[in-house]
Amino acid sequence: MGVFLFYITAHSILSALCYYFVYFQNSFTNYNSCLKVNLIVEFICLFIFICIEIQNRFRFYLLIFLFVVFFSIFTFEQVNYSMNEFKNGSTLFEFFALIVLTIYYFYERLSRFDIEKSIVNKTFIIIIGLFLYFTGNFFFMLLVEISKSSTSEIKSNLTVIYCSITIIKNIIIAIGLSLPEKPENPDNFIPFAGELETNTIQNTHNPS
């Protein structure tokens, strides 16, 4: 949960910085740099967060593999395109990988479900929020390159969709974070009083 809280904090600060660069400084170079840092932080934190929740023993190898692929795409984009451009390749990979990883998390949850980990669980609710965000915005990220040349009306439509999904995500995450930590249930095991014979033996050994 610490990783996620760090992500929330870093994401909020970086988003605020992005808006500052766009609306106060009108500097798209800084804005794009900030977006890229935001993307890297988001990728690292969310993948670590979900990989911690996954029980698979190969999760760390998977994490390393995803990091390698992501940073390869990211580096490729940085090398081949200018700083002012924001390419969606690494973002799309992040979205796709997170969707797949989340589906695997759900599958794992179904296959080894423990009653103690009930539905009302912080992590589960947060991952639901993230899952809705990444699936809902996947097409937005896919078409963001094409939509750059479209009319302002379409751009505003896309922004409405993006913002609506982001708000839903934020509400769900807020609900998840506001949930109390589940108290440990007292074990309702009924003690077994079948040790009559053991007591008898002890009594026999100790006649006093």
Binding site: I115, F131, G136, F139, I165, I190, F192, G194, L196, T204
Partner: protein, 268 residues
């Protein structure tokens, strides 16, 4: 692609992805609710089973205490009271011959009381089992049954060098006693045979008899019934041993067998 097409495609794509995502989430949640209900039901059943076994154990202990109390009160009490009568204060005023007669009678009665108390003690913890182990105690039990001439009873321990802990042996002995008792009471069997085998992890005890018996389903049914303590005590002891018990009928339908499996490294 024209701008309205992009917008439409994006809307449809987003809606499709969201529907898919919500579908997955709803499925996961409903499936989990189903699993929770199932697990709660299983937990409740397990709890009820443990409660039944606990009740049976408590009732068994109470009955055992009542039996010991009754034995002491009804048998040992009157014997000692009679001995006291023989040894009352007037004894010194009696003639020598009468004194001697009273003392001999009192001694006889006290001997009877000692024997009675020894029997009660032996029924709590058989001395053969305590001193020589399960093999000797079982052989002793089966020899006594065989000696009655009513039924042919034999016990054979193939791996008698393998021993369980004393506590485990006593539990196994009680289970065997209860099973033999049931066979003698209900089955009208011509023979009863106990065998023991062991491997690296477990020890197996098997009782064969050719009378009327029960299968595993009957055992579970009778175990859940409110009446009857014997089978519940067996189940309770098997649970304490971390073992298992299997009631079977031979494919030839000629004899019944009961197999008790006891792990050698039990927790007790």
């Amino acid at each position: 692609m024209d701008p309205s097409g992009i917008s439409k495609l994006m809307l449809i794509g987003t809606m499709g992805m969201l529907t898919l995502a919500i579908g997955i989430i709803v499925f996961v949640i409903f499936h989990q609710r189903k699993v929770i209900r199932y697990q709660l039901k299983m937990k409740q059943l397990e709890s009820e089973k443990q409660q039944t076994l606990l009740d049976a154990s408590i009732r068994f202990q109470e009955e055992e205490r009542q039996r010991i109390a009754a034995d002491l009160h009804d048998d040992a009490g009157p014997l000692l009271a009679t001995a006291r009568l023989y040894l009352n204060e007037n004894l010194v005023n009696l003639e020598k011959a009468q004194q001697l007669q009273s003392i001999i009678s009192a001694k006889q009665i006290i001997d009877d009381a000692i024997s009675l108390i020894r029997n009660i003690s032996h029924s709590l913890m058989p001395p053969t089992l305590k001193n020589f182990g399960l093999e000797s105690a079982s052989s002793d039990l089966f020899q006594k049954i065989n000696g009655s001439g009513i039924i042919n009873a034999t016990a054979r321990f193939h791996d008698y060098r393998d021993r369980l802990k004393v506590e485990q042996e006593l539990l196994v002995f009680r289970i065997v006693q209860e099973l033999v008792n049931n066979v003698l009471k209900h089955s009208s069997a011509g023979f009863i045979h106990l065998t023991q085998n062991a491997n690296a992890e477990n020890m197996y005890f098997r009782i064969h008899h050719d009378g009327r018996g029960i299968a595993q389903a009957d055992f579970h049914r009778l175990n859940k019934a409110s009446q009857g303590l014997g089978l519940k005590n067996i189940a309770s002891r098997v649970a304490v041993l971390n073992g298992s018990i299997l009631f079977e009928i031979d494919p030839s339908q000629t004899y019944y067998k009961v197999t008790i499996e006891v792990p050698k490294l039990s927790v007790i």
